[in-house]
Structures are given as C-alpha cells and as structure tokens.
Subunit: 478 residues, 2 copies
C-alpha cells in the first residue's frame, strides 16, 4: 500500500447499521482516531477545526451577553467535592482519582474535574464580598473527565471538551433569567450555527443535574429517531452558596447568600451534527462550522490554463468563504467522494469547457443539487448558496423531526409507538416519578423534557391515568 | 467593608522584595487567585484575556506556517510513557498518577500528561504509512501537569496552560529546519507581541529536553537580572519513531523511520511580561496582548455633557483599539491607580475643559508621558501611540538587558559578577559537562544557551582554562 490516501472510502449504510455508520463517518471523515487510553479519543485536525468554529461562534455569543472566560484547576480535592451532598452523590461514582504525585502518595486524593461548580464556589468565596462584586458572569473552556463504562466518539467519552458557564447573582430572579437566557443562546446556536432544530424545555426532577433546583435542556432528534440532549442550563438557587459559605453584604448591609447558575455544551455537538445531517456518503456540515465551506475541484487539470484559473478563483473567493483548491493528483471522481465524505457544503467544478464559457458548476452537498454560475458573479453567489444550503439543511431536519414526532394518549399507544416508530413521543404526565420509572421499564423511553411550548393532548397521565396538566417529550436517547 | 473595590491597592516595591512585588502584581492586577489545590492557580478574567490574546496571535502564526490543531487525551498509560527511556526518566518523577476510576482500581495506572510526545507517536503510528502522509504539522492547546515541589504563579505551577507542537518529517534536514523555524516564530512573537527581546540559541546537553537530540531556546532577562526560558523547540531525530515503531514507506518503497520535532510555550509568558515590563505601580502590558488597550477616564463626569462625549469617543474608538470607558463612581485618581495597576497602555483623560478645547489628554503607561490630542484626529493618533508604546517598551527592555549583560574571561571574574551583578554573563565554554556543573556549584549559574550569534571573548574555557570555541550565556534563572 504505497498511498494510503488512495483507498476508496466505503462506509456502512445508515439503514444497515446506524451505529456502525456513525463510527465509520467519525473515522473516514478523519474526525477522530482511537487512543491507547480506553474510552478516550483523539480529535484529528478536521474534527478539531469544527470544534474551533463552534468555540469561536459560541464564545462570541457568550461575550456579547457579558460573560468573561477564566481557567480553574484540573483537580478538585476530595473534601471540596464533598461539600454539596447531592452533587457529590451524582458525580463521585464516575470520577478519576489522582492518588500519587511522582513517587509520593498524596495526603488527600484529588479528583480530575467532572464539572467545576465546587471550584467556582471556592473561588467566589474569595472574591465576592459586596453587592458591588455581583454579578459574576464566568465561562470556562476546558476538558472534563467522567469514568463512563460504555463510550462512543463525541457522544460519550471518558474525557471530553466542553464549556461550562458559572454565574453568581444577587437575586433569585436574576439567576433564573440568566439560566433561561443561556438556554436561549444554546437554542439559537443550534439553529443558526448547526442548522439543527431543538426542543427547549425543563428536565423532570429525575433527570436534573446533581445539586440543581432546575435544569433546562435543548433536545434534538437524530436521524435514527433517538434524542440527543445537546445543551443544559441549571438554576441552583442558593444551595451551593450555603454549602460553600459564599456570602456578600447587600445594600442594606446584611450578610446574604447569592444565587447561582451553570450551563454547558460539549464536543457532543459534533456528534449531533453527524447524526442530524449525515447520509450514506458521509458527513454533511452546516456552512457556519465547516472548516472548508467550498472546495474547487479542477477538471482535466493538466490542460493549459485550468490550474491557473482555479488558483485565481481560489484567491478571489478567500475574501468571502473558507475556500480550498485541491490540486492533488487524484481523479476528480476520487475528490468528489472525498469531499462528500468530509461534508464540504459546496463543490466547485472547473474544467476547460467551463473556463471557455466563463462559468463553473457548483454542487450542493446536502442534496446534490447542481447549478451553473457565471465566474463574474461568483463572489456574490457563494455566500448566497451557503445560506441556502443552511436553510435546506435546517428545513430538512425540522421536517424529519416533525414526521418522527408522535402523540400518545394511553400507555398502550405509547408502548406501540416506542416499539415500532423511532422518534419523539408527546404525552401527558401527572408529575409522579413512579410513572416516569414505569415508562422507562415498559417502553424503554425516558422523559426528554417538559417543553416550554405546551400542548394539551389529553387531561390524563399517559401512564397512570390520573389527572395531568404537563405535556412531555419522551424518547429513547443517546 | 461595604465595597471591596474601594480598597487602595498597595504593592511591595520591586527593590524591597522582587518576589513579593511579583505575587502582589499577580493578585492585585487580578490576574490570578490561589486555588484549594496546592500549587495550582485560578486564572482570573483579566489574566485569561491576556492568555487569549497570546493564543490568538500565536495560533495565527502557527497556521500561517501550515500547522493544524488537534486534541490528544489527557491521560497516558504508564506502559506508553515508558517506551522512550530518556523521556520517561525525565518526566516520571514529576507526574500525577490516576489509579482509580470511580470505585474501581485501574488495571494500569494513567499519568496525567506532562507533555504529549508519547501520545502523538502512538497516533502517528496509526495514521502515517506512506511518504504521501508526511509531513504532519500538528499543534495542541491544552493544560499539562508536573508535580513541582515549589511553585509560583505562571512561572512554575503544578498545572499550566500551554501549546505543544508535534511534527513528523521524511528527512532529518526538514525536521531540523522545522525546529529552527518554530524557534524563530517564538522569537518573533516575543518581540512583536510581548515587546520582549530574547536571545536565541541552543541548550547544552545537560539542559536538553528528555529524549531530544537538540533543544533550542529563547531566553529573556527579567527586571531582577534572572533569566527566563520563554519557549523551547526540540529536534528528536528518529529516536521516538524507533521507540514507538512509527514507520513509513518511502518513494523507493523502503520501510523507514520519520524524523520528529516538538516545541512549546506556556502561560509562563505572562510571568515574563510581568517581570520584563512591570514597575512599582503594577503591570505594564504590551499593546498587542493588553485586554484593554486604552481606557477613557472622564473627569468631573457629573458635569453636563462629559459622559455623553466620553461615550461618543468610546464608540468612535471601538474600531481602532480595544477601548474601555470607566463610568464608575470612583474618583479619577482611584481610576488612574487602578488602570496603572492593570497595565493599560494608554489612559485617555476627558474633562469639561478638554471638551471645550476639542481635545483630550493621553497618558502612556510605560513612562507616564502625557500628550494632548485633538479629538478630530483621535482615531489615527491612538494606533500610532500604541505602536510607539510598544517600541518604547521594547527598547527599554533591550537597553536594560544590554546594561545587565556582562563578560567574564576567568572563573574569578565570573564568580564576582555572579555575586554582585544580576544579569547575563557571556563566557567561553570547552563543552565539558563537568565545567557546567562546577559553575553551578561555585557561582550558582546555569548555562542559558549557546547563542546563534557567537562572539569570541577568549580562546579558553572560563572554568577549566582549556581550549574553548563556544560562547555561552550563563545566569541565574527562574
């Protein structure tokens, strides 16, 4: 095998085996490689460039809403982790413990951060004294570790990259509105950057973050009908402040506890993109986060003038999009397949005949649609075509989600749908944890969220038949 | 204490106690806070914003030179760390070990990465097969852990943020030239972004990176006359490739080993900036990395029109610099001290009298120089003043370094300089490790580097008197 790049890239089809299709895409699109450490992954340049674009856009949205970035330590002393009872119960079973530094045994074990609420509280205690010190609107980009038993690239790995926002406020009202604001930021990001429609809502008590008073979520529906929790925002009340002794002097000179939030999204979003937009030819990337938005594939590039014209085109397009010209020796057909696999939104074909006619052919990755564009207007056309590609992707995903969203009024209906039709199930719930547990048991579904946009499907709980006024989204989930 | 922000910020003077001055600046300029984990630090928003600016500029330079970012796991299995003998000997004594995941003891201990050569090699082995797969030009932004005994903010902490470049090449020549190129990138960054002159050179064998064939360095001189290694670039030959079994098929269809480099800089650069430019009033930031490049302090802001005019000025200046308007209730004097502490390059004073005269007063942080500027030309003046501030800072640092660089021909001379004059000492060296050890023992100096720009100071080794043709920089170092 003299040239590993010449291998034809074949992947399992979605219908044959969705899970296999997913990992095939992760590997063949060169997003990841497996690492020597079980359950961890290597994010390769193409995958990392997607993450950089996600970071760049999201970080801008955080800064626009007044947040500042900080960096907290990687390690949490065991005694600090234990200060908030619910929190430690939720996380202790799945943390990695550092016990030795060099040859010496540590006096106290350190946990590799699974999330940093405890560290932020410890810091807030040092720096917040007066009402003038509030609010604190912080965010951190880092990696966290959770010792999961079963792992999958991007979706669930022992180490993953994320951002975690942590904010501190003078009033409960302000903290609640921050929690809501950041959920809206996530939803807007999902729609505008990932072309991914999401359902916004609140988690049930069972599904709440360890230590939170309320957890909000954006839920997306993947191609295979499974739900993916894509971002969460938590309201803590003053529980953590009390546990960690964070207090400040208010305007009336009284010592009081501030209110807290946290919110996070992870590299899981890359998994969401793969499973929302991908197809049997590989990845399909939303233009906003695509490392390469348009690729020029010269046709008959040995013919005089073709490469020169292609380079000229590339240089002109640099100002309007992330452009790449592939001058490689492989055939156009090989290149077509390669950039389809990598999900490049637009492919620009340019051959001697096109040059003669002062035009090029542009193929759209999402649906293969081809159009001929004059070279004179290419700088204005490409941004339009990228925006169109985004819209087609969003609408296609929304349409699929709507088609795969069902309504159940009775337990039998819900069971039948859960067994035969992958997707979301909308059904009423009385609010009892027992019904939630039972639906998991008998139908294999979990509550995804209590959506903000409520509909009245019936008056009774889909499970127990008692009076119910909450409509929930249920489903199988990643 | 109703308002913690109203405290006067006093710091120890440099001459009184340089070490105390340094930590005072770190804390009072709100760059860091100490964490519950011994030897780790919290990088606060102002400190992190400096790091973001460093990252942004440096990442651009890496991408311009063809490098791509990736992300490797945080953990290295013990067996993987042990594959390269010199490397593990260098790092094992100072790594943190993870022994448990949740309640279970791990089958194999994992080390929290102190550096990632081993992980990159393991990955290269998977993805490099043919000469067509080379070169690989990778970089990673992440945090690493080294279990240091004594720690200081930014300069030496158990966890720190850094970038580590790792590249793989077909020939030794190409790898050597990459090593050199990246050292030059670092030197250019130090000069252009940090206004910090550096000496470029090679490390002696004693000071080499564990497992490298050659280590290159940029060395800066701090205000107190101590040297600070500010960036290193390593040439590995094919040592790591052999140890990890990384091979590829060359153009002649032979299986051969590729050549490797790595290079890194860390948050230590922030420490370098503090100790190169800072003064008794606090931090002095080079404009390129300053989170706020110019701050508007309104004078008599309660008077009609002052705040309006100040806001108008801020809005105009947004396009040309990172501008801040401080509308806070504190006095102008308090604000002057605050932004001096924080090292903001330019302070713009605007009062009723200035407005009447259509002007403002601009004070330069580096030397306190004040000029009056017409409001009509402020957009063109500010960038010029920032560029000037940079030059003044660079020249001042260079001048100081030159004044603090001495020459020694004999051991007695060197000892006397080392005892009485803080700074660099240029002296000849025969190349023997014994002489290097002896100079450390009798004069407390280490070899900083064999500079690329050689001078002939004498023909004999400063230590043993034998023939010597290498001139070295020696000094006490952080």
């Amino acid at each position: 095998m003299a040239d590993s790049k010449k291998l034809v890239k074949e992947i399992t089809s979605m219908d044959e085996d969705f899970a296999k299709w997913y990992t095939d895409v992760c590997l063949k699109a060169e997003l990841i490689d497996y690492a020597s450490v079980k359950g961890c992954m290597i994010i390769r340049p193409y995958g990392y460039a997607i993450w950089e674009n996600i970071q760049h856009i999201m970080d801008g949205m955080f800064k626009e809403t007044g947040h500042e970035n900080v960096y907290m330590p990687l390690f949490i002393p065991e005694s600090l982790l234990q200060k908030e009872k619910d929190h430690v119960e939720g996380f202790a079973p799945e943390v990695a413990w550092v016990t030795h530094g060099g040859d010496e045994k540590l006096e106290e074990r350190l946990c590799v951060r699974p999330t940093s609420e405890t560290l932020f509280c410890d810091h807030f205690k040092n720096i917040v004294h007066s009402w003038r010190d509030l609010p604190k609107l912080y965010n951190q980009w880092c990696s966290v570790v959770r010792w999961e038993k079963t792992t999958r690239p991007f979706l669930r790995s022992r180490e993953f990259l994320w951002q975690e926002g942590h904010t501190l406020h003078a009033t409960a009202e302000e903290a609640r509105s921050e929690t809501e604001q950041m959920l809206n930021v996530y939803a807007r990001f999902a729609e505008e950057a990932l072309a991914m429609p999401v359902v916004k809502g609140q988690k049930t008590e069972k599904e709440r973050f360890a230590g939170a008073e309320a957890t909000y979520t954006i839920e997306a529906l993947m191609h295979d009908g499974k739900a993916l929790q894509s971002g969460t925002s938590h309201y803590f009340g003053d529980g953590f402040s009390r546990a960690f002794g964070v207090q400040y002097t208010d305007k009336e000179n009284k010592l009081v506890y501030p209110y807290q939030t946290s919110w996070g999204t992870t590299t899981r979003l890359i998994g969401a993109v793969i499973m929302t937009h991908g197809d049997d030819n590989g990845l399909v990337l939303p233009p906003a986060i695509a490392p390469v938005q348009a690729v020029i594939v010269p046709i008959a590039s040995h013919k005089e003038g073709v490469l020169d014209k292609a380079r000229e085109l590339r240089d002109r397009l640099k100002a309007v999009c992330r452009i790449k010209l592939d001058e490689g020796e492989q055939s156009p057909g090989w290149k077509f397949a390669e950039y389809e696999m990598k999900g490049v939104p637009l492919r620009i074909e340019l051959g001697p005949r096109d040059i003669e006619n002062n035009q090029c052919v542009i193929a759209r990755r999402v649906d293969g649609e081809k159009i001929t564009v004059s070279l004179d207007s290419i700088e204005t056309e490409i941004p339009k075509l990228l925006a169109e590609a985004h819209n087609v992707m969003y609408n296609r995903a929304l349409e699929r989600r709507e088609k795969m969203t069902y309504t159940a009024k009775t337990l039998d209906e819900l069971k039948e749908i859960a067994e035969t039709k992958p997707g979301f199930i909308k059904a009423m719930w009385c609010g009892d944890r027992e019904c939630e547990d039972r639906l998991k048991e008998v139908a294999g579904v979990t509550s995804r969220c209590i959506p903000f946009e409520q509909e009245s499907i019936s008056d009774t709980c889909v499970c127990c038949g008692k009076k119910a006024d909450k409509m929930l989204y249920w489903g199988k989930a990643y």
